[in-house]
Amino acid sequence: MSTPTEPTGPCVTPRPRGVSRASRRRFLQHSIGAVVGLHVSGSLFSGLTPPTVRAAATWVDPTGPLAGAGDAAVTLRFLDEAGSPWDEGHEAMIAEFQRQYPSIKVQRNAMPITELYRQVQTQVAASDPPDVLYIDGPAVASFAAENVLLPLNPYVPADDLRDFYPSSLQEATWGGKLYGLASEQSAPLLYYRLDAFDAAGIKPPESLATAWTWPQAFEALKKVTKPDRYGLDLITGQYLLAGCLRSAGDPRAPKTSSAYKAWAGISPDGRTVVGYQDAPEVVQAMQLFQDMWKQNIMPSSPIPDAMPTGRAAAWLGAEWAEGKLVAKYPNVKWSVTPTPYFRTPFVHNGSLTYTVSARTRHAKEAVLFARWITSGPAEQFWFQYNPQLPARRTAANKVDAYKHFPKSLDLQEFERWGAPRIRIPIYTQYSTLLSEAITNVSAGADVKTQMTTFAAKVQALLDDFWTTHK
């Protein structure tokens, strides 16, 4: 899959409400077809002329601040995430980029996301950072705060930025400067097995207006839990769970109240987490999850593919993991319901982001690559490999699938309930400590003690940060 082919017909068919489950399955199979090597037979976008590789024009013109980019032969080093869909998708995109800008060669170095940050650190410490870095959105703040990244504002026209969903820009902004560009977005949903829920006589809601609260979901999940099947698999730990915990707060409450603090997660000046991360509402919410672990509704040890293999009836996941589900388990009948919440309908959104090293010797070319790979046509191209909500409004609006259930729920939840993760300059440390607290709670530790200790540990690191970054 090195060069894109001109699409020959529609691939994603609009699916009206009430269409059969088999049709839905077919639709999902098709939408991730490229990821798994299935045949992609047509355009994923309707109403938009698909990008043609034969077009003479480039997708981003190197003019203005980018003038001269690619005039001389340059090799860019791109630190990327390994695995599917990045391996096949990014390789194909790089081939296309190099076709459009023949003098710029992109050397891709891919590794698992867990190793990315250590790799960045060691390369930065060795004064040999990659030119373009593909990192998780909330981690942009951590790297920007340490001057590892190049501010992109001078290189990206304001008009172009307006096309991105605001949360994509918020996530990549630190200190008023933009440090990254995203190509996709995400919002979690509760995926469930139809056989398990049908057998229990439970019909989960299909709209945001009728979404379950967590106590309601708890009762339903209890009913679908069996000795050989958990009710819920929470695969990705801290990032999705943290959003659920924030939903226990209330953004409309007075700013000094614990309800507001539980929702905010961090003080407006970014200096305090004690009282926020361990607010009584958060502790109470976490208690419900511990009850689910204690009652064997949720497994405390990871089970690969728990929901599609029938070891769990439901799964809190997101579009980025949906592709694997559809491709690997085409016969499993499933559906989605909005992410349950406690007090305020709320989910974390966000995605991986293309950033440029502050120490790159090829700033113009690196920015050109970051802008190119997040341009409208590139998002359309990328969607073939990773059928996930594009980060640009115009691109997202042109995907028919988002007009129909179940993908419509992704878009609605993202637009109406979604917000980026907390803006903290020590995000990687915060995320490590939160995972640790969650593990301890799942092992039966006292919830209040764990959340208080967690908040205190983050606060100590945050205090250290602000002492050295006055």
Binding site: V120, S301, N440
Partner: protein, 301 residues
């Protein structure tokens, strides 16, 4: 090799000796340079880093003198990690070395399955630790693991080996024992094969049975090998990292957070390279101290 005539004090070595020295020096220079740069040099660099508040990402370095060492002495997390490391080391060495000696005794005898036992015991040693840890994590899984399946067959409720705070460290230790057993057994086997048969024959003549022969001949003559196995096992125990990283990430409730993992967290997750270097130096000194103690306790004539 020609035998050199005795040389007068202060006289230059003969040309052939000089050539031999030059050849030996050339061959030794490469590994010696590697040793100096990648072993001694890095320890030296860690020592220097330990005197700074050093952020690997931003590159900022602020001299704090012994501040990191003072901080370590007051850091409850680090002290707990040392305690966990000691618990781990005691459990591991206490089980691994006697077991390895028993296996070495089995392997020493020429019997039908000796070759199979040797291969089976040594195979985990040459298997990468990441692979071993990943496999054991799956085997320990209370839902899909083979151990849970066996327990269910025996009508025992599955245990949550890596999540239960009481079981996590022993479960992790069992994996590392399984992995390292072959190496210790090999050391003991080398020792056993070096004991002259005559001692056993003399002991038999004196009326000593197998148990008495073991206590009065085998064990005393294995002292040097026991010391070596003990030192290596202790160093390994204090350096354990991979299974913790793969299987538990130090949890639950810090019950498996050994000193090296704590260092890793400080250095690479919390960006405190200076402080992590100070912790590394402290652990290094502890290992050196323990090794010196072993040598003293097991000193042989």
């Amino acid at each position: 090799m020609p035998i050199e005539p005795q040389r007068r004090r202060g006289a230059l070595p003969s040309p052939s000796t000089r050539r031999a020295l030059l050849t030996a020096g050339t061959f030794l220079a490469v590994p010696l340079a590697g040793l100096l740069i990648f072993r001694v040099g890095t320890v030296g660099q860690a020592l220097v880093n330990s005197l700074y508040q050093y952020n690997l990402l931003s590159g900022t370095r602020v001299f704090v003198g012994v501040g990191n060492y003072v901080r370590a002495a007051q850091d409850a997390g680090f002290l707990l990690s040392l305690l966990v490391t000691c618990q781990y080391a005691v459990m591991k060495i206490g089980v691994q070395l006697p077991l390895a000696l028993g296996i070495a005794l089995l392997m020493q005898k020429s019997w039908r399955w000796a070759g199979v036992v040797r291969t089976a015991v040594y195979l985990p040693v040459v298997t990468p630790f990441v692979v071993v840890a990943t496999l054991w994590a799956l085997m320990y899984n209370p839902t899909i693991g083979i151990i849970a399946a066996l327990l269910r067959t025996a009508r025992v409720p599955p245990l949550n080996f890596l999540v239960d705070p009481r079981l996590a460290l022993p479960s992790l230790t069992a994996v590392t024992i399984w992995k390292d057993l072959g190496f210790s057994a090999l050391i003991f086997l080398a020792g056993l094969q070096g004991i002259p048969q005559g001692y056993y024959e003399a002991a038999q003549v004196d009326g000593a049975g197998p148990w008495r022969q073991f206590w009065n001949v085998t064990l005393p003559l294995l002292k040097r090998f026991t010391l070596f196995a003990l030192v290596i096992a202790t160093i390994n125990a204090f350096q354990v990292y991979t299974p913790v990283y793969v299987m538990t990430q130090g949890g639950p409730l810090d019950r498996t957070k050994v000193a090296t993992y704590y260092m890793y967290e400080r250095a690479f997750l919390f960006y405190q390279m200076g402080y992590a270097s100070a912790l590394a130096i402290i652990v290094l000194l502890m290992i050196l101290g323990l090794s010196a103690l072993y040598f003293r306790l097991l000193r042989t004539e």
